[in-house]
């Protein structure tokens, strides 16, 4: 019997996953443990391995589609087995590779109940909307109705659409796979000669055409890349933040003289304890954590018109990774020492770059620190990581002339930029918070208190 492949539920809150890519084509043999497809949850990318061997019989979804958890997305089985032509819905056996199966099923059911039917993936999953006459003509001419663009309301296919399509594609027989490849790559099949039975165009014909086209005409169009995967998540989240949260950015300069002293004194101690070098990031995170514990209104989350004053102070650290950005979280920053923070910060940053974070390490931040100090950047306008209330942007530390006690002195100054969500907090408390951060960093020994 063919075995269902479904969207795994990777956390208790996961409701949908985005299919990033298939590693197998329909008809490919699959071994147990081979990566089958890659998905992305709200923050993490994961390759899902096959847990059955056989042939990949069916793929119901294409990359970039959002799929509810436990939705059947394909079948593995014997080569000749019949499987439904569209996804049969939720998996009947969704517990096999999910550890908390009970929770999963409940979650899945709720999830389905809350989804208006038909909203899931309308284009791919819904039966073709076509009039009886259109269906008859498609049947008579042996055409796939799904390939015909409907001109009626809600894309309903009418008889004339089928006739039109059939006349346009007269004599062009094409396998569904070849057609899909051609559509995805936006290749016209009109001028292709099929090498399959009776001149049917097969996938290879299309890929050959793509290769010859890119070989000869690659000067004509720039390289394009679809907004997908992590890029898409970042795009959506940034867009949402800018669209919904009125951002105000405050900037200030912080005298880092004493932090420098503190760091140089602690550096050998911590290196001895952990083998890791204390960096400014950890000191800043600690200072921010302490300041946040004194300013609950900045350590808040705005969710569904409710301001939630978070009890824990969890600071997200924006980490640049290949082609993207991740924000792993340092939990309970205010109550941890610099040595612990150094260990944790280095660990999550390294694993973020290797894309090996667990999904719960990406959750629960109540504030974010974004450090561009390694570049020639002073102030900037960071975008808030919703539902957090604020984000602190760190610029470079640069020696600057400052007036201290009526004399000009050279001091290591660091530009900081605090963007806050003006829905949740006002300018005065945000400014007071930033002033507190400045005060702590300019008197860092209080962190030891």
């Amino acid at each position: 019997m063919a075995i269902e492949i479904f969207m795994p539920k990777l956390s208790s809150t996961m409701e949908v996953g985005t299919l990033l890519q298939w590693f197998k084509e329909e008809g490919d043999p699959v071994e147990i443990g081979e990566p089958l497809f890659e998905i992305m949850t709200d923050k993490i990318n994961i390759e899902v391995e096959a847990y059955e061997e056989g042939t990949l019989l069916k793929k119901y979804y294409e990359p970039d589609e959002e799929i509810p958890v436990n939705q059947v997305i394909g079948f593995i089985g014997e080569e000749s087995e019949e499987v439904p032509s569209s996804s049969p819905g939720l998996s009947s056996d969704s517990s096999s590779d999910v550890d908390d199966s009970e929770d999963t099923r409940e979650g899945a059911e709720e999830n389905v109940a809350s989804q208006p039917s038909g909203e899931v993936d309308v284009e791919q999953n819904e039966k073709v909307r076509a009039t009886p006459a259109a269906r008859r003509v498609a049947r008579e001419r042996d055409l796939q109705l799904s390939a015909v663009a409907g001109s009626g309301p809600k894309g309903r296919v009418h008889e004339k659409d089928v006739v039109h399509y059939s006349e346009e594609n007269q004599g062009k027989k094409i396998t569904p796979l070849a057609k899909k490849v051609a559509e995805n790559e936006q290749v016209s099949v009109d001028n292709l000669t099929g090498t399959g039975a009776n001149g049917k165009i097969v996938k290879d014909d299309v890929t050959d055409a793509i290769q010859s086209a890119t070989g000869s005409a690659n000067t004509s169009s720039p390289k394009k890349k679809k907004l997908a995967g992590m890029r898409k998540v970042i795009a959506d989240r940034m867009q949402e933040s800018v669209n919904t949260a009125p951002h105000v950015t405050l900037t200030s300069d912080i005298d880092m003289t004493k932090v420098k002293e503190l760091r140089s004194q602690l550096l050998p101690t911590i290196e001895k304890q952990t083998g890791l070098r204390l960096s400014y990031t950890e000191v800043i995170a600690k200072a921010v954590g302490v300041a946040l514990s004194r300013f609950p209104s900045v350590n808040a989350s705005l969710i569904n018109n409710e301001i939630i004053y978070n009890e824990e102070v969890n600071v997200g650290l924006a980490v640049a990774v290949e082609d993207g950005l991740m924000v792993p979280v340092l939990k309970k920053v205010n109550s941890k020492g610099l040595s612990t923070l150094t260990k944790e910060a280095k660990d999550i940053a390294r694993r973020a770059r290797e894309q090996k974070l667990q999904s719960d390490e990406l959750k629960g931040a109540t504030f974010t620190v974004s450090n561009l100090g390694m570049y020639a950047i002073d102030a900037f306008t960071p975008i808030i990581n919703l539902p957090e209330t604020a984000i602190l942007g760190i610029g470079r530390i640069q020696d600057k002339p400052v007036v201290v006690d009526q004399t000009v002195e050279v001091r290591p100054m660091m530009a900081v930029s605090l963007s806050f969500d003006h829905r949740a907090v006002d300018g005065a408390p945000a400014a007071a918070f930033l002033t507190e951060v400045k005060r702590i960093l300019e008197n860092p020994f209080e962190l030891l208190a």
Partner: protein
């Protein structure tokens, strides 16, 4: 050919038959000297006398019961109900007796009677005198249901109804009585169960009954100016229904609109739409079937509201346009 009114055509059909067939007689309220509520039998008592043009007490139950008894014993009665709304009072005689007796007697007796009655709104007669209840009787096995829309059809169908061995409910329409049409002087019969294509067209089939045939034809003329070619079919008889003609038309046009004056909910349009959905014409449908019918309200007395309660020409035009939008 000679032009006479629908009313005159009905009267002529009865008079011509009564002259040669002594078994035929008419009974109803005030059909004698007064000539009936709409004057259909005016002058007939003078020709045929009070024995054959029988005034009855004001009891539709008695009229219908008397007719059933007369028919069973060999007469061919035509009974007139002043308004088709009052069929409610005659319902037991019609449904439980007239429709059933031939079957209950194993074919040894039959009920060859015609119940003539005017239906429809448009005369300002308000809620109790304006209904179109033909779907009620169409539901009863054993009754034939006829709804002529023209003078020609009225004469030919009434002849066929009188000749029929079974009870026939013959719905006239109050507003059609004064409409004129070419009608042969001699007797003729139009088979019950044969629809008439009142207008040929290729884009959409409009099946309309009774007065809606005329509204559909008017709409078709308007639509022709916009290049929409409407076929108008008048089933003429609801029972038996000429399914073949409608199916063939829909196979040709791929689109169907059904129009009747009766309330749309539970109306006979649902039956016609279902017949098509179940037929081989289904595979030719290229647009959803549309039904136009009366609103689910009592017919208002106010003339503007009365018009608004039933389909009018612009409604048919709109429905056609929506249906052929994807031509």
């Amino acid at each position: 050919m000679r032009e006479i009114t629908y009313l005159e055509a009905v009267r002529e059909a009865m008079s011509q038959e009564m002259r040669k067939n002594d078994d035929v007689f008419i009974l109803g309220e005030d059909i004698g000297v007064y000539g009936g509520a709409f004057g259909v039998t005016r002058g007939m008592i003078e020709e045929f006398g009070p024995e054959r043009i029988r005034n009855t007490p004001i009891s539709e139950a008695a009229i219908a019961g008397g007719a059933v008894g007369a028919a069973l014993t060999g007469m061919r009665p035509i009974l007139e109900l002043q308004f088709s709304d009052f069929i409610t009072i005659a319902m037991d005689q019609i449904v439980n007796q007239a429709a059933k007796l031939r079957y209950m007697y194993g074919g040894k007796g039959s009920v060859p009677m015609v119940l003539r009655t005017p239906a429809g709104s448009g005369t300002g007669a308000a809620a109790q005198h304006s209904q179109s209840l033909e779907a009620w009787v169409a539901h009863i096995p054993g009754l034939k249901v006829v709804q002529p829309s023209t003078a020609y059809d009225a004469k030919g169908l009434l002849k066929a109804a009188i000749d029929d061995e079974n009870p026939v409910i013959f719905y006239e329409h109050k507003l059609l009585y004064k409409t004129k049409g070419d009608v042969p002087e001699e007797q003729y019969s139009i088979p019950i169960g044969k629809a008439d294509i009142k207008r040929e067209g290729k884009d959409v089939t409009v099946v309309a009954t009774s007065i809606m045939v005329h509204k559909a034809l008017e709409a078709a003329e308007e639509l022709e100016k916009e290049g929409i070619d409407v076929e108008v079919i008048d089933p003429r008889t609801l029972v038996p229904l000429d399914e073949e003609t409608i199916v063939n038309s829909v196979k040709k046009t791929g689109r169907l609109i059904v129009v009747h004056e009766a309330v749309k909910r539970g109306g006979f349009g649902g039956e016609i739409a279902s017949v098509i959905a179940e037929s081989e014409a289904f595979d030719y449908l290229d647009s959803p079937i549309k039904r136009l019918g009366g609103l689910p309200i009592p017919i208002p007395y106010n003339p503007n509201l009365e018009k608004a309660a039933v389909p009018q020409v612009p409604d048919i035009i709109d429905a056609v346009k929506e249906t052929v939008r994807f031509k």
